[in-house]
Symmetry: C2
Subunit: 287 residues, 2 copies
């Protein structure tokens, strides 16, 4: 069974699963696992690793509209160096500071492959998941797509400093909080835009059509196959949100980043400019 089929099976078994974070009694909880061979290309600094690992969990909180309470990490590695751990903690703290929460520690584990697990906890006033999109709603995205793909390409081509900058993305906590009261469905774009749209459509039992140009990170424009990378690569952490058309202007005024309308919720089918948009993610190997 592949990872997607396995996730689908677990989502069926656990009522609270299926959104970016589970919510119990108004508390949002999420956990993620990253490791060298899949998630950290050569050139990622320890500070970036701390930032990004924690940011991935904070992005899950953003996607359910949560106000973060704190984040923790478990750091598994064959050896521990003071410099690496201090840099990791620095990055973890910086991203928590950036969204107004606290990095409060975690655990260490001797592990053959460097493996980082992170968890974040938040409070939720307006619960939003993937299941409420309604035909006629607008589909919007925060910021721009393709940042994760650009970072991977920059690591590949040795532009390490710029790649690290892009890899230290800003979790869209403030945007998630501002959107939650009006959003009908929301998730982050970590699996890529195409797969995210299919997941919202499946959870909400609706369709989605997107049209026109997408907001694409300028950093990606120097590479080939830009549109495909921006649509399917993933490793982006923007919010994909559906909301009533008449709520867009007000949402835009309250969201502190660009909010671009990319499409409309329909009755069925996920399409782009009239053609079916395949439910595919890019298979990427950072080595």
């Amino acid at each position: 069974m592949d990872e997607r089929a396995a996730l689908a099976m677990i989502t069926d078994q656990i009522d609270e699963a299926g959104d970016d974070a589970a919510i119990v009694d108004g508390t949002a909880i999420t956990i993620d696992m990253l490791h060298d061979s899949a998630d950290f290309p050569a050139g990622v600094t320890d500070r970036t690793m701390g930032w990004r690992s924690v940011a991935v969990s904070l992005s899950d909180l953003a996607a359910v509209g949560a106000d973060p309470v704190g984040a923790v990490a478990a750091y598994g590695a064959p050896t521990f160096s003071e410099g690496a751990l201090t840099a990791f903690v620095t990055g973890a703290r910086e991203v928590c500071d950036a969204v107004g929460t606290e990095y409060v520690g975690g655990d260490l584990d001797c592990h053959d492959e460097r493996t980082i697990a992170t968890a974040a906890v938040g409070r939720v006033d307006h619960r939003v998941g993937r299941a409420g999109a309604t035909p006629g709603d607008a589909v919007c995205v925060t910021g721009c797509l393709g940042t994760g793909a650009a970072a991977f390409k920059l690591f590949e081509t040795g532009k390490i400093e710029r790649a690290n900058q892009l890899y230290r993305f800003s979790p869209r906590i403030a945007a998630g909080r501002a959107l939650a009261p009006v959003a009908t469905a929301m998730m982050d774009s970590s699996d890529g835009l195409a797969r995210s749209l299919h997941q919202i459509a499946a959870a909400s039992d609706c369709g989605i059509t997107i049209e026109g140009d997408l907001p694409i990170d300028p950093a990606l424009r120097e590479f080939a196959d830009t549109d495909r990378l921006a649509t399917t690569f993933g490793e982006d952490f923007e919010l994909i949100v559906t909301l009533p058309e008449d709520a867009i202007d007000d949402a835009r005024a309250r969201v502190p980043v660009d909010l671009t309308r990319i499409g409309t919720v329909t009755e069925s089918g996920v399409t782009r400019d009239g053609d079916p948009l395949p439910d595919e993610g890019y298979v990427h190997d950072p080595d």
Copy 2:
């Protein structure tokens, strides 16, 4: 730098670190990482793995006196089978049910070595950590020691069913909640009794003396070196607690498991029956 030195360094850097769970705004958060080569001897079932992984994080909540809100897990493995995942979720749910909380899902990750990260979240009314032990306090332990060592020995000797039973330990949530209002210091015994006592003594800037027989799991008695295993092996998840002497009777009445007095908090030095008790844990390899 070894794991202990690295943990000490991180504890110095992060105010909230140092206790079994971090506490922010009345919310306790903990994360743990377990993996095949260190934590799951041959013979551990998938159900036991789910139970124990989540139980380790719930034990951290117990140790700070928290009331659990929910628990999550990230499951990394080279392949996913429906049977294994279903059994894992069953075990994770059972231990949550056993302590009155909910298993609310998590994440999957393709990983060369099976690696489980768990996080648990709770609410704290009476904050208790490792730093408040005061000379004259009694030192008590819940349940009995050596259960983890007995399980490891039983796995080694092929008594798999009994070993799995012992491995599915009961996190001392109810005991932790009952003890928190009177405890001056508390932690779980996952690093072994000896190391736990040293950690409380160091955090509280005091000494501890223990005297007489320890409550030892009858399952361990069939093996050699019982006392040493019960004292230093770890992989036990009882609570080690210090509390004023005149609070013991009342605590005993409210704690739903045995609460055995094993010693007294002193000014300095960690001793057993008058001799120094080394700050040592057993190095164990489950393979």
